[in-house]
């Protein structure tokens, strides 16, 4: 590729997507013939001072395709992006979002607002989902630097972007995670409570949905847990996540697989 110079009236601006379309290497597909592995449960919970994200690690096609997929990625310093649906399209979207936010930052010497990042993804999701059977549904959460709060944005299949003030779930395990979150969510959760609720919701999803991978004590592969607050995107160490899920497992073993009459 040569030097991409544009005249002032034909310039695509700082949007990498518009530039990509004009340059003919459009990352959004026209049609795909085969089924590919599907990614599964991710949760975002808002707390006082930020957002907690929890995601399982399993990619499922007709069989388990991978046990250690990272479905939540750092999109930039203050933003986390999670994917569900087609793994191929999802990972492409992650890569594209990361690149786009950084591209905007370098072009303009300022970062996009959190809402700007959420809206930017809308038409990309719309184009992908309406033109291909390989649907992808992301979940975007982050620390809003201008309003000093954690915020969550979810999407529908047509690319519609909706802000959630409490929590959001994506993937095939979401009905089970959603149920747990609806019972356990309060407006004034602190970080620790949000982490515990998120872990519990993911445990429920892993327990009930065949294509959501719960904690894997044999391989020591645990769900990803991330906090987004004024210190940015931070992933909890695997050992700490393991402890959390081990504790839930012990409680569930005592009560023979059910929560035992309370959220635990």
């Amino acid at each position: 590729m040569g030097l991409p110079l544009f005249s002032a009236h034909g310039d695509p601006g700082p949007s990498f997507w518009h530039f990509a379309q004009m340059s003919g290497f459009d990352p959004v597909p026209r049609e795909y013939p085969h089924e590919t592995p599907h990614a599964t449960t991710v949760i975002a919970v808002r707390y006082v001072g930020g957002v907690v994200m929890v995601g399982d690690r399993q990619a499922t096609g007709n069989y388990i395709a991978s046990r250690d997929v990272r479905k939540i990625e750092r999109a930039d310093r203050y933003t986390g992006l999670a994917i569900s649906g087609s793994a191929a399209r999802g990972i492409e979207l992650l890569k594209f979002a990361q690149l786009s936010f950084e591209h905007y930052e370098k072009m303009t010497d300022s970062s996009l607002s959190l809402e700007g990042k959420a809206n930017y993804l809308s038409p990309i999701i719309q184009r992908n989902n309406l033109s291909s059977p390989l649907g992808v549904l992301p979940l975007l959460a982050g620390w809003d630097e201008s309003n000093l709060q954690g915020r969550i944005f979810e999407y529908d299949g047509a690319g519609g972007c909706y802000e959630r003030l409490d929590f959001a779930t994506i993937g095939s395990g979401s009905p089970f995670a959603d149920g747990t979150l609806r019972l356990g969510f309060r407006d004034n959760l602190d970080r620790e409570e949000a982490l515990e609720l998120g872990a519990l919701a993911l445990y429920e999803a892993g327990d009930n949905d065949p294509s959501t991978g719960g904690p894997d004590f044999v391989r020591e592969i645990f769900p990803m847990m991330v906090t987004l607050n004024d210190e940015g995107f931070q992933e909890l160490p695997s050992a700490e996540v393991g402890e959390r899920f081990r504790a839930i497992n012990v409680r569930r073993t005592e009560s023979r697989g059910v929560a035992g009459g309370s959220l635990r």
Binding site: L5, F96, H103, K106, M107
Partner: protein, 225 residues
């Protein structure tokens, strides 16, 4: 009836070069230098928002002197080139030499074929990694590309500033010393440039993928002592 006058190629090139040099000489200069362990770029720039130095990629930076609108378009093209090359292949395939070559070709084309030559001078700086060395590529208005060994000066007053800087530095120094020498070379013996009138950026490994950093006025004052 229109009369066409013969102009010799020598004269044409000379006129165009003079035109470009005049345009470049109107602006302030930039000093870029390798320090231990990074690359420093210092521009005399009273504006805090119309930047002359910019991040291009993880380990590549851009600096331009001359007409702002002209070098800013080159800067944008550089970011687009780098981001799309990294997206198509891999982040490690984005090479400053390839970018400097594209700039050289474009400037060369504009110099001979354009309505007028671009009144700019460009620097592409690269911080070393395991496979690539630290590099300073200077691209002149007519497309001449030069690989500067330790430091480069861009702008109208380049020769004088180059002499002053070379006298003060004969080996790799720390960031503070290099910045001090660069600012002294830019200012000359009779002038003092304050941190507010400086744009200072570095490429340095800080444990993350991106190495570019724009230093704040307070940090620059602190480094200058």
């Amino acid at each position: 009836m229109t009369n066409y006058f013969y102009v010799s190629p020598e004269q044409l090139i000379k006129d165009r070069a003079e035109f470009a040099q005049k345009g470049i000489a109107r602006g302030r200069s930039i000093v870029a230098a390798i320090y231990d362990p990074g690359v420093l770029m210092v521009a005399e720039n009273p504006s805090a928002s119309l930047n002359k130095i910019s991040e291009i990629y993880d380990r590549i930076a851009f600096a331009g002197v001359g007409k702002y609108n002209e070098f800013d378009r080159l800067r944008e093209a550089g970011i687009r080139w780098a981001d799309s090359t990294g997206f198509t292949y891999s982040r490690e395939d984005v090479d400053a030499r390839a970018l400097a070559n594209y700039y050289a070709q474009h400037l060369g084309d504009m110099f001979t074929e354009g309505q007028k030559p671009l009144e700019v001078e460009i620097l592409v700086a690269q911080l070393a990694n395991k496979v690539r060395p630290t590099k300073l590529y200077r691209v002149a208005y007519e497309g001449t590309i030069s690989d500067e060994p330790r430091f480069a000066v861009l702008g109208g007053d380049a020769d004088t500033i180059k002499e002053r800087f070379a006298l003060s530095e004969d080996s790799l120094q720390s960031l503070a010393t290099t910045l001090h020498n660069a600012v002294a070379a830019l200012a000359g013996p009779d002038r003092v440039i304050t941190a507010e009138d400086l744009e200072v950026c570095i490429l340095e490994d800080r444990g993350s993928r991106r190495t570019f950093e724009r230093l704040s006025d307070s940090r620059v004052s602190e480094l200058l002592g």
